[in-house]
């Protein structure tokens, strides 16, 4: 997994609540056996007309946001399906950080597995950042995960909360599976005990 330490980029404002995973990446784009190539379909129904042409008024279609690396959204971002294609699509587009008032649980989890930092901030702070982001290409935000700090285009800073273990994994780009496999003896011990107490779970 690619690590996340500091990141600077343009932030695209998407002041909508309940952006569901069907909007982030519709089901018809899930017929793939790869992780890559989904960026073109990111936020498809918001980005494109039914005939596939771009909606010029949508934020990611405006020239200064075409290379946005940060998304600033409303409440309950990523609700709905468990599809990891949603963070894959964000990543493939170039989004490394989503800042929102709240996230749906599974999507939030999935971000960390892909080197994307999801940041939760209170409504008034989101409103201020959204306004800053509205200034376009000159509105560069910097995110410092180690310091848990966002620097806005005017040089103002604000801090955010994050679970220490997730922060550690993201900062170091750690592979969860590798970490867990180091605990293989504990897993084996658990299995031996479960075999005695709940034998019907074992063949």
């Amino acid at each position: 997994m690619q690590k996340f330490d500091t990141f600077s980029g343009v932030a695209a404002p998407l002041p909508i609540d309940n952006v569901d995973t069907d909007r982030i990446i519709p089901a018809r784009f899930l017929k793939t056996i790869k992780r890559s190539g989904l960026g073109a379909a990111l936020l498809y129904p918001l980005r494109y007309h039914a005939d596939g042409s771009e909606r010029p008024d949508f934020v990611l279609n405006q020239s200064h946001y075409r290379k946005a690396g940060i998304l600033i959204a409303g409440e309950n971002f990523g609700c709905g399906s468990s599809r990891e294609h949603a963070p894959w699509a964000l990543l493939d587009f170039g989004i490394r950080c989503v800042i929102a008032e709240s996230f749906a649980d599974i999507f939030y989890n999935n971000c960390f597995k892909n080197g994307i930092l999801p940041v939760v901030l209170p409504k008034p702070e989101i409103a201020r950042l959204t306004e800053c982001a509205g200034r376009g290409a000159n509105a560069i935000f910097t995110i410092d995960l180690a310091k848990q700090e966002i620097t806005d285009p005017d040089g103002g800073t604000l801090t955010f909360e994050i679970d220490p273990f997730r922060k550690h994994c993201l900062l170091n780009g750690l592979d969860d599976i590798g970490l867990t496999l180091e605990k293989a003896p504990a897993i084996a011990t658990y299995e031996q005990a479960a075999r005695r107490t709940r034998p019907w779970l074992f063949k």
């Binding site: 909007r23 468990s82 599974i106 999935n110 679970d163 599976i177 299995e191 034998p199």
Partner: protein, 468 residues
């Protein structure tokens, strides 16, 4: 005396393999269900790291999202779908995982297959790369959806890194009125708490109206707990749960059955257990529900009207409602019963079990769908289909003008050929009415099987209480 625990607390505690200082836990997984859409990248990850599947015996795979629901002898014609389904078959063979392929009578929607086989049991932890894994909570199992990276993690280690959820109790008191189904209860709760109302929580459904539900009805409720944002739904196991499980092919066999039963009976929440939040609903006060918008929380009683965004104080909520009504092609103040439909879909992991088909068949028996309506029934599994045919339900549906299909996810998410055309309007027993969910530009109204059947007859949204 020890601290009173909830059902969730007990299952959680029984599955902790390792606990870090910050509270992050390594949780053991008792059952891993796998389907073709969210697994290929996980198997690829295992392959490139040279890792085996730790417990293939606790893993079951089935193809459901992409499979055609028409004549199976023709195979899968869509190349991408075919590749996904074939990849699942190859991965299962390579890693030694049980696989119900498209020709197997046990094939069906993964969340219907698990319970039907008796694999889903109280007290288990169950995961799947699918958000509707919450369905299995109906048996008092802690069951939740995971992403593909976590699928790979479970395949490799049979564990997951998780933090405990908070407990929420949704108590449904009273008795359902005529024509009111489990679907109406869960839609009512989602309407009340919203699609983020359960975030960070496991919702335990309790109360007289929940105890009274069949296992099928309980599965419908737990299935949609994800639509309330919850990590999982749970219902305490009881005599109905045990009776449902007894004798199923993969349920505990004689010899260990009594031991399993004794364990299962220890699971229900202790009196005085703490819930971080509580909601209540009076089943007697709930009318059949339909959604009018593009989120499951956009729900109203069938005898109501389309709400008016102008009455919304919050500007962002008003904008979202306006967008939803524009997408749905509806005007504020319209009677919901005046909304005409083109399509009826009876199916999905929410409502494609035998009881759902019986309920819909009872409404359409000796009647006919409106001329303008295309109606389909997609049974949840090959075994549900067989059972329905043995009961003559297929004849009732076909005589009423429905298409009788092969099992799969079908028009719930339109990954196969079953989809709405732009602008088409569907009365659907599925779980999500998001924009484009049933096909780009398609318009979805969620409701119970009884209500979808009534809509099929009327050619518009209808109150099933006026039909039966």
């Amino acid at each position: 005396m020890s601290k009173p625990l909830t059902l969730f607390d007990k299952i959680w505690n029984h599955h902790v393999v390792d606990r870090q200082k910050d509270g992050t836990c390594l949780i053991y997984v008792d059952l891993h269900l796998v389907h073709e859409v969210t697994s290929p990248q996980a198997f690829e990850g295992l392959r490139s790291a040279g890792r085996p599947v730790r417990r293939p015996d606790l893993t079951l795979a089935v193809a459901d999202h992409n499979v055609p629901t028409t004549d199976r002898r023709l195979g899968i014609t869509d190349e991408e779908s075919l590749l996904q389904v074939e990849t699942l078959g190859r991965n299962c063979a390579a890693f030694g995982i049980r696989y119900f392929d498209m020709g197997d009578i046990r094939q069906g929607i993964v969340h219907i297959v698990g319970p039907e086989q008796g694999l889903t049991q109280p007290g288990m932890t169950i995961v799947c790369g699918d958000s509707h894994t919450s369905t299995h909570g109906a048996f008092g199992a802690l069951a939740f959806g995971i992403g593909t990276s976590e699928v790979e993690h479970v395949l490799a280690t049979q564990t997951l890194i998780q933090r405990p959820a908070s407990n929420m109790r949704a108590t449904v008191s009273g008795r359902r009125g005529k024509g009111v189904a489990a679907k109406d209860l869960i839609l009512g709760i989602i309407g009340q708490i919203g699609t983020a109302g359960g975030t960070g929580h496991v919702i335990e459904f309790a109360g007289e109206a929940v105890a009274e539900l069949s296992m099928e009805g309980r599965m419908t409720m737990c299935n949609m707990s994800i639509e309330a944002g919850a990590r999982a739904g749970l219902i305490a196991p009881d005599e109905k749960t045990f009776a449902y499980l007894r004798g199923r092919p993969l349920a505990p066999k004689a010899g260990v059955w009594e031991m399993a039963l004794a364990y299962w009976k220890t699971l229900p929440s202790d009196p005085g257990a703490i819930y971080q939040s509580e909601v209540t609903l009076d089943a007697g006060a709930i009318a059949p529900q339909v959604t009018w918008g593009t989120s499951p929380q956009d729900v109203a009683a069938i005898d109501g009207t389309v709400p008016d965004p102008a009455e919304q104080a919050d500007p962002r909520r008003r904008e979202a409602m306006e967008r939803a009504l524009s997408y749905m092609g509806l005007a504020p103040g319209m009677n919901l019963r005046d909304i005409h439909i083109d399509t009826v879909f009876i199916g999905s992991c929410t409502n494609a079990r035998i009881e759902d088909l019986r309920a819909a068949a009872a409404v359409v028996k000796n009647r006919h769908v409106a001329d303008s309506v295309r109606a389909l029934v997609v049974p949840g599994s090959g075994l549900v289909k067989n059972q329905a045919e043995a009961e003559g339900l297929d004849r009732i549906f076909i005589d009423a003008g429905f298409e009788w299909r092969e099992p799969g996810c079908s028009m719930c998410l339109a990954m196969n050929a079953d989809k709405l055309k732009p602008g088409e309007r569907c009365a659907s027993t599925s779980n999500r009415n998001f924009e484009g969910r049933q096909g780009p530009g398609g318009r979805t109204h969620l409701m119970s099987p009884e209500m979808a059947a009534a809509a099929a007859l009327a050619g518009r949204l209808a109150d099933v209480r006026e039909v039966v």
